[in-house]
């Protein structure tokens, strides 16, 4: 136990990240079930308004800051050195420091539940002036700010570490243009983190100053500007969406190529589109602020439309990779296909709300909740499970049960769509988000009932996944080092890999070293 807690090895830290994020995922999922239970029918009083506010605040905060983004970081921690033939991350102790800052920060956010007045209750965006009112939001809000500041610092440190590792620690022969797409996506993500997270830390510092030391950065009565907080927050917030999705684009690419038994179609296009998405994502933050009237709507609308182009390139490449391939519908592949279908809906609804006239109607309704969940829940979360099924044998030397895995996928896919598809229609009927109850008008009762039932099906799917992990660990059937016939370098070492990853590195002569070795093209 002490060995794990003090370990600076990238694989141990990667696994610690993954275990911690999955723990936060269970907590965030339980909160989601509470939210859906409250909204199951009109006029429900299962949760009071303040408890409901805390539940959706902690759910959103946990999923964004403590589950999806750090899972990608944890996966990158585990995989990037293996994929480029490095023995560890460039700065192992900095890596461990990053993890512990993240873990302590996450626990601090949830520690708000123990505070007088409860946890933070101002939504995951913590908009001012609501979050500035120290009397109304209490110590829970302060713990939220402190915890997320630690998480933000941790994320920046990890980004630096990943970037330095990928650039400087590649094995002989692993040129930049031979790196697997997952590693490229991580490099783009790291650049994005370096751009996006410092403004968030600045916003939190200013918020704390306003709350505790008489500052007025965001207080209009003293010349401050609440819209400034929105600028700073979304300057981080929109790139954060891509921090949460780019590593998972990499996951899907690896899974699709492996289970189509074909090389990645359009490798260069994949890399360029990753950086195009990263670059454009920095210039679209104000599309979250169309209704403030304080930004140039046509400009931000146009840039938002533009980001669909490199995203479309990725879809073309995934389909091109599968085209005429010998597709093997493993559980990982099913989750990858589920990712594509769900993310497509998220992307299309994203283009819709990038249009200011439509956004004025959809703003702060459940339409936005649907769009966002299809992007991150149906997208990243499905890719997260694809990654777990795909790399579990490499991490632990055993594979997860395929039968139970496919049941998990079916339950999650059906449950997810039953939960979130109705939300689009709720939004179109005018149901506001972040309100603890709603009147019995239109089809709201029916749509909310379906949505709550869907969330229960999803919960069963997630529970089945954990049962699968438990059963697989108990059975502990050993697997070969490359059970899926993967092409990248990590499949050429043992499962699990030795402490410094490779006893012997092969001569790397192309983008697909494992396939080169298998075909005899490389020694």
């Amino acid at each position: 136990m002490i060995g794990w807690l003090t370990s600076t090895n990238h694989k141990n830290i990667g696994i610690l990240y993954i275990v911690t994020t999955m723990t936060f995922f269970v907590a965030a999922g339980a909160l989601a079930l509470l939210i859906r239970s409250q909204l199951a029918f009109p006029g429900n009083t299962f949760l009071g308004p303040h408890a409901f506010n805390q539940a959706f605040t902690l759910h959103g905060t946990a999923m964004i800051f403590l589950v999806i983004a750090p899972f990608g970081i944890g996966l990158a921690n585990y995989l990037v050195p293996l994929q480029i033939g490095a023995p560890d991350m460039a700065f192992p102790r900095l890596n461990a420091t990053s993890f512990w800052l993240f873990a302590v920060g996450g626990l601090t956010v949830f520690g708000g539940l123990l505070a007088y007045g409860g946890a933070a209750a101002t939504g995951w965006t913590a908009y001012v002036p609501l979050s500035e009112i120290a009397e109304g939001t209490g110590a829970g809000q302060d713990l939220w700010i402190v915890g997320l500041t630690l998480v933000a610092v941790s994320t920046v440190l990890t980004a630096i570490n990943l970037l330095v590792t990928a650039v400087l620690y590649r094995a002989p022969g692993m040129t930049m243009w031979r790196m697997p797409i997952f590693t490229w996506e991580v490099v783009a993500t790291a650049v994005l983190i370096l751009m996006a997270f410092p403004p968030l830390t600045a916003a939190f510092a200013m918020l704390l100053i306003d709350r505790h030391t008489g500052g007025h950065f965001f207080d209009p009565t003293y010349g401050g500007n609440p819209v400034l907080y929105q600028h700073l927050f979304w300057f981080f917030g929109h790139p954060e969406v891509y921090v949460m999705i780019l590593p998972f684009f990499g996951v899907v690419t690896e899974v699709v190529a492996t289970f189509s038994h074909k090389p990645v179609f359009g490798y260069v296009g994949m890399v360029i589109s990753a950086f195009a998405i990263a670059g454009l994502s920095i210039g679209v933050w104000a599309h979250h602020m169309f209704t403030t009237g304080a930004v140039s709507n046509p400009f931000f609308s146009a840039v938002s439309f533009l980001i669909a182009v490199p995203t479309g390139v990725k879809f073309v490449n995934w389909i091109g990779t599968m085209w005429k391939g010998a597709i093997e519908l493993s559980t990982a592949m099913l989750f990858a296909i589920g990712f594509m279908l769900n993310f497509l809906i998220g992307g299309i609804t994203g283009v819709m709300v990038a249009s200011p006239p439509l956004d004025y109607g959809a703003h702060d309704t459940y339409f936005i909740v649907q769009h966002f969940h299809y992007t991150i829940g149906g997208g990243s979360l499905f890719a997260l499970f694809a990654a777990l099924f795909f790399w579990f044998p490499k991490m632990f030397g055993i594979r997860l049960g395929e039968g139970m895995g496919k049941w998990s996928f079916a339950l999650l896919f059906v449950g997810f769509n039953a939960t979130f598809l109705p939300m689009g229609f709720m939004g179109l009927e005018g149901m506001a988000r972040r309100v603890y109850t709603y009147p019995d008008v239109g089809h709201l009762a029916l749509l909310n009932g379906i949505s709550t039932a869907g969330s229960v099906v999803m919960a069963v799917g997630v529970a089945l996944f954990f049962v699968n992990v438990l059963v697989s660990a108990l059975l502990a059937k050993p697997v070969p080092d490359n059970p899926w016939n993967g092409y990248s370098l990590e499949w050429l070492t043992s499962s699990p890999p030795p402490e410094f990853n490779f006893h012997t590195l092969p001569r790397i002569q192309g983008k697909r070293p494992a396939w080169d070795v298998a075909s005899g093209a490389a020694p």
Binding site: S7, T8, R93, V104, M195
Partner: protein, 157 residues
């Protein structure tokens, strides 16, 4: 990877930190000066583009000048680096750094005494963390192992 490349890695690390810091300052000043203007978005985009261009240029130049083993497309055994440096396998300081950071931040809000104590403890932990970096190859230090013991001896074979 020899000491020269390790030091290059360190320079890259410092440079990236400086770039991030300078970028943050530029953003803060820009917001402070023109946040009330409708042209804020366009101005910020310009700054962002400049920052992105600067970071990308730096990365390309640093990578080009680095003479890295990874950039050799047809590697031979002789090109494998001899000394891969020192890699720590265990350290208790990261977890203590995180706890002290939490204490310091919480102390700023609720207890100056806690803040001062935590800050002192944080500095001590960071100093100890840094001391581990200063261990030279060949010296005995628990928790530090030489990377070549496990990897580099067979690298490229």
């Amino acid at each position: 990877m020899g000491c020269g490349q390790r030091s290059r890695a360190l320079k890259t690390f410092v440079a990236l930190l400086l770039i991030s810091g300078a970028f943050g300052v530029a953003i803060a000043v820009a917001y402070w000066l023109i946040a009330h203007e409708e042209t804020t978005g366009t101005a910020l985009l310009g700054i962002m583009s400049a920052a992105l261009f600067f970071a990308a240029s730096y990365a390309i130049i640093a990578e080009r000048n680095a003479n890295l083993a990874g950039d050799v497309p047809e590697p031979q055994t002789a090109e494998a680096p001899e000394d891969l440096g020192i890699f720590t396998t265990h350290s208790p300081w990261p977890i203590l750094v995180a706890l002290c950071a939490l204490g310091a931040l919480s102390g700023v809000l609720w207890s100056p005494f806690l803040a001062v104590v935590s800050l002192c403890a944080l500095l001590l932990c960071l100093w100890r963390l840094g001391r581990e970096s200063a261990i030279t190859p060949g010296s005995e230090f628990r928790g530090v192992s030489r990377r070549r013991d496990s990897t580099s001896t067979e690298r490229g074979s």
